[in-house]
């Protein structure tokens, strides 16, 4: 298995397409950082709304590296699935298209082992993409904007998390985001089994994520109870929960706490179940597949 995993990683990281995602993330993050560096106050004014009429907002303190990273994650974590699909959707279908699938499937390795190695390589790619995102969105933002307490907007309220209570929340959020994006990777991986070129699974994955995200965001009571709890997209944004801390009787955030750890746990479980379901279906379908490409 380790041998197969090494081979799959070599294939992923020697393919030029792989680096599109890293480049796209860097470009998007840098654009956001430049915009906030030069016009961050306008964005915070927009965020705080009418509060600026009754409170004196310390703009320079608010606009710090932690806060910028939070904004970037809010803006990008919806789009990164598209980049994940580029590699995961290519994993089987791309090999079929190149004609290498028949070669690897006729080697003395089990198809299940091959699929697991490919999926593990996809998880590693996803994790590396998130580490890259963390590096440029958190570390570079800290270097540019410095550190301070972080202001979190929740519905109509604002919550302040102390600067020494932030870093672990980011670690947890990035770990959760890896799980969420692995779910998208698993979906693209499953669809990849049924296609002989990677365009189909990539477009299909993106379409499914878009439709599900729209359904997840729609405020329709009927869907709130019947459909939304079961859509993986409804649970992909649960990473924000790590930034919602418990508050004391005075309304201040309690350091080191998470308001609703159960909700995050439930979302994690649902995402894991989705991953298991998608990957199991992919392995089953691949084991039954006649390789004619």
């Amino acid at each position: 298995m380790w041998q197969l995993l090494q081979i799959e990683l070599l294939k992923i990281f020697r393919k030029p397409r792989t680096y599109i995602s890293f480049g796209a993330i860097a470009a998007m993050v840098i654009i956001i950082q430049i915009a906030l560096k030069f016009d961050g106050q306008s964005y915070i004014e927009f965020l705080t709304g009418s509060l600026k009429d009754s409170l004196e907002i310390p703009y320079t303190n608010i606009l710090n590296g932690y806060f910028v990273c939070f904004i970037i994650l809010n803006l990008l974590l919806i789009h990164i699935p598209l980049l994940i699909a580029l590699v995961a959707g290519d994993s089987i279908a791309g090999e079929a298209n190149m004609g290498t699938l028949r070669l690897i499937a006729s080697k003395p390795v089990s198809r299940t082992g091959l699929m697991l190695a490919k999926f593990m390589a996809t998880i590693i790619y996803t994790a590396l993409l998130l580490i890259w995102l963390a590096f440029i969105s958190l570390l570079i933002s800290i270097l540019i904007f410095g550190t301070n307490d972080i202001l979190i907007a929740r519905n109509d309220a604002l919550e302040i998390i102390q600067r020494n209570d932030v870093l672990w929340r980011y670690m947890a959020a990035f770990a959760f985001a890896t799980l969420a994006l692995t779910t998208v990777a698993a979906l693209a991986f499953l669809l990849s089994v049924f296609a002989d070129n990677s365009v189909g699974p990539i477009v299909s994955t993106i379409s499914i994520v878009i439709v599900f995200t729209i359904l997840s965001e729609m405020q329709i009571p009927l869907y709130d109870r019947t459909i939304k709890p079961f859509l993986f997209t409804s649970h992909m944004l649960a990473w924000k929960g790590f930034f919602y801390s418990k508050v004391d009787s005075g309304g201040s955030s309690l350091p080191g706490t998470i308001e609703n750890i159960r909700a995050i746990g439930k979302s994690s479980l649902i995402l894991v179940l989705y991953i298991i379901g998608f990957v199991s279906a992919a392995i089953y379908a691949f084991n039954k597949k006649d390789i004619l490409s």
Binding site: Q3, Q6, L10, S106, K107, P108, S110, D290
Partner: protein, 310 residues
Amino acid sequence: MSLVTVSHLSKKFRSHNAVDDLSFSVEEGDVYGFLGQNGAGKSTTIRMLLTLVRPTSGHIDIFGLNLNKERKKILSQIGAVIEKPDLYKYLSAYENLSLFARMSGFINSKKELNAQLEMVGLAGRETDLVKTFSQGMKQRLGIAVALIHNPRLIILDEPTNGLDPQGIADMRNLILHLSRHLHKTVIVSSHLLNEIEQISNRMLIIDEGKKIVEGTVESLTDPARTLVEVTVDNPIAATSRIESSSWFCYLIKTENNHLIFQLPKHLIPELNRSLVQLEINVLSLQAKNSLEAQFLSLTRSKQNVAAFTD
């Protein structure tokens, strides 16, 4: 004991029978020609031998082991090139070879891998990306990949597709080398009879997924029924002169300016001399062996040949 035994093998794609109750066996040391027209079921059969396609019914035993039960063990002793040798274009020749060797369960030293590349004529191109290779070079690298783990059985599906004449000759020599000097068993499929005839000692002709005939090349080659196509400048005059000669009994067809004879192979030089004596202006004379005639008459294009042999 046969190295490969295929019994009542069938594959159905929806309502289409790609392979229909096919049985054959390959002996150790054979260069076994697998001959059939495009779409005859050769590639489907080969893919079933390599577990890429699941049979609808039937059994395959290789090295005396059941392919279903001992898949990994069997595949570790098979090297294959299936149709085009598609490899990872963004990797070098060396990386491709190393990767597939590892997938076959072998950790080869750099020296061994380079030696293998040298054997197929790719020395000096080890670090070049495969996307820069010609079709012939890719084919040679495909062969290197198939042989890197020293397999007992080599399966080559249409190995000369897309090759230039020199590439075809090189491939033929390589197959003969594998058989004669390295004592490998080779199954080679092709729709080109000439190719199979030159390298195989045993062959199977299939059509529409069914076995038409199986046997040694000698047994399938009947020199008494060689077809000779003579191209002349004036077919009417030529036919008239032949009608009055002893060669008329061998003339089976006149088509445009071609005269088709069927006769024992040893009579061809005599026919050639007689045509000159009959003052027939011969533009070309081409012998087609009886196997070719048999192949064409046994397979689907028999209607095309029917005119030939009526």
